[in-house]
Symmetry: C2
Subunit: 198 residues, 2 copies
Amino acid sequence: MSAIKLRNVALSHFARYGYEGASLSKIAEEVGIKKPTIYSHYKSKEDLFLSVVKYVFHLEKRQIFLYFQKEDKSDLKSKLEGFFDWFEAEFNLSDTTKFLLRMSYFPPPALRNEMFQLSTAFIDGMERLLYKMMKQHQIQGELNGINMKDAALAYLTLVDGVIVELLFAGTNRYKKRADVAFPIYWRGIHSINKEYLL
Amino acid sequence: MSAIKLRNVALSHFARYGYEGASLSKIAEEVGIKKPTIYSHYKSKEDLFLSVVKYVFHLEKRQIFLYFQKEDKSDLKSKLEGFFDWFEAEFNLSDTTKFLLRMSYFPPPALRNEMFQLSTAFIDGMERLLYKMMKQHQIQGELNGINMKDAALAYLTLVDGVIVELLFAGTNRYKKRADVAFPIYWRGIHSINKEYLL
DNA sequence: GTCTATAGTTGGATAGAC
DNA sequence: GTCTATCCAACTATAGAC
């Protein structure tokens, strides 16, 4: 009954080597079973992959939701700013995020449509979550006169821009980007001075 | 003498299917030659790949340099803002950018170090190019009191955040991100009002 | 559920004729 | 430079014993 371990090892291999680059032999080897045993759990490589995909999307959504729900940093700025540190820790802890990013950006061609729908739904969910949260802080007076939908979308853009640096340039450059770009974003959504609109 | 066509087809296949997913048989088929003929041009798949990599980095650097050098939009804001439209056109025209992004984010494991160095150098070059250009506009008085290195880095972060949306969500969402996030960035680097620093 | 054995295909790569 | 023919290793997947 190594179904869970199998899924976790598969996740890690897909994240590191891609769908085509991942080998069922090597996955089985790391799990400690023989290759044909995989087929008693999943009927094909695609089946295994899709199982991992669904698991990862569910997990990631939940994790991010929990982060923003936490009460220890109750003001919005701390939450948005602190997200980068939290994310880096998550990223280094497991391969789920790397898997999610890789398979969203470059899905196996045969599963392109399914992946597109899943990742679009995921991003939409993030946008709604952020929007809802920012709206609450607007009522509390922290974000007067700001277009919340734009602010949420721009924040997601910022997050993506910082994260891709983590993918291939490592922790140091990631942190630098976050430290530099977030304050500019934060000032950008607050400066409603018309002088700067053109 | 189909060396150039071979390189272009290989580029397109690596971009769409990844290093492992690309097949020399299929590449040869699309070129209109037989598979062993590839080996009269390149001594291995890795060799073909690295040849494409160097070509693409050279090309991309040159393209971006030329865009920012152009004189038709001489003010900085137009250039930074117009980059997104220009980039989208480039992206849809060929697979070079997709190749570059894919192989920078998720290089073939055996070539991880080489790719890391190449993409780091590329990004550094972009940062210097932007910094230099912004510095000129600062002298002209367009960007008073702004930390140029930070502004350049934040702009690259913005660009990356917008581009990744193009990778998997398509043109519409890409444009939306650019339209929403750029003005916030632009205001962010201009609002030196200390009220918004904390 | 897990194994051994193996089918069937495709992968990258080479030898040698033209 | 391009081909045919071929090699060998690796892949996904299946059959059938335990």
